[in-house]
């Protein structure tokens, strides 16, 4: 039987990161030891965190060598000093809600789809940075396990690429990039 408890997702997330005073952590240690619901929530968070980590590694392996540099150059134009990974993470809901919101891996997969086209539409100046670059109006992928990403080739041509996206669930993903 799952007991009722007063610990919020935010508190539990802080506890998982060992944030807070030693008294608070000790109190939560004691609570979690006897609370099946909190144990389950912590286990969910741990497995979700592992899956995200795996997903990012897989995407990185599939992407071209200069993907990070290509994205970085765009990111610098739009938001100075922000890395491409930070930009990806910025598209997520706040981490603690994500951790305990159980939104599933579909979100992780869709990040890759949304990221590049959204950069294109952020600022008209970016549309004119490369003569060869295409303007993407829409991308729709219907696949049980793959999503689309858009990036520039070495010569500035546009590449529309498919990457694995576990947990997509087979639903189509539509990415309109026009404002």
């Amino acid at each position: 039987m799952i007991s009722t408890c007063h610990v919020s997702g935010q508190e539990l997330s802080r506890y998982r990161d060992r944030e807070g005073s030693s008294a608070q952590l000790a109190e939560l240690d004691e609570h979690v030891a006897g609370c099946e619901r909190c144990k389950l929530r912590l286990a969910d968070a741990a497995s979700l965190s592992r899956l995200f980590s795996d997903q990012f590694q897989q995407i990185e392996q599939e992407l071209p060598r200069d993907f990070a540099a290509s994205v970085m150059s765009r990111v610098r134009a739009a938001q100075p000093r922000r890395s491409w990974l930070e930009s990806l993470v910025a598209l997520l809901p706040p981490r603690r809600e994500l951790t305990f919101g159980m939104i599933g891996l579909a979100v992780a997969a869709s990040l890759a789809i949304v990221f590049a086209p959204s950069l294109r539409s952020q600022d008209d100046r970016l549309l004119e940075t490369t003569e060869n670059e295409a303007q993407i109006h829409s991308i729709e992928v219907t696949s049980p396990d793959r999503s689309a990403v858009v990036f520039d080739s070495a010569e500035g041509n546009t590449v529309i690429w498919m990457v694995p996206s576990e947990g997509d669930g087979g639903g189509g993903q539509t990415v309109p990039s026009e404002p």
Binding site: I136, E140, V141, T142, A148, T158
Partner: protein
């Protein structure tokens, strides 16, 4: 005033009925061996972009399309690419061709619409080959007549 309107109307009329020559290369990218022989511009660009060791042009076709028309390209492993010429946009004296590309391979479909400059190339992933780790890439370049 009427003259300007006529010129604009003529230009729009020409754009609407213009033909586009679609140059479609089917390229296989794999980690077997190394790219040999003379390389096309598209392969050089892909080689500098993707981390595959070998790139090979499997076929290259040119089709002439009228705006609104489409063409089918049959790819290895049963995939089919449907490419349609949607229209022509003109901004600041630059003409871009709007294409719709739909690639079907089994249950998987990639459907995209984009605008690219006259003569510009867009690379579109056309799925993995069933045998080995090779992937197919379409290099699609529209040329306005």
């Amino acid at each position: 005033m009427i003259g300007v309107a006529l010129i604009v109307a003529l230009r729009l009329g020409n754009a609407a009925t213009a033909d586009v020559i679609l140059d479609v290369q089917v390229i296989e990218a794999s980690n077997d061996g190394h790219t040999q022989g003379r390389q096309s511009k598209a392969i050089r660009d892909l080689g500098a972009t993707l981390s595959y060791k070998s790139f090979k042009t499997l076929s290259q076709e040119q089709r002439t399309l009228t705006m609104g028309d489409g063409a089918q390209f049959f790819l290895p492993d049963g995939a089919v690419a449907h490419i349609s010429a949607v229209g022509i946009d003109e901004k600041k004296k630059k003409r871009t061709v709007r294409l719709r590309v739909r690639i079907e391979q089994g249950e998987e479909t990639l459907d995209t619409e984009y605008s690219v400059r006259d003569g510009g190339t867009v690379f579109v992933s056309a799925g993995k080959e069933k045998s080995g780790d090779a992937v197919l890439v379409l290099a699609i370049a529209p040329h306005l007549k």
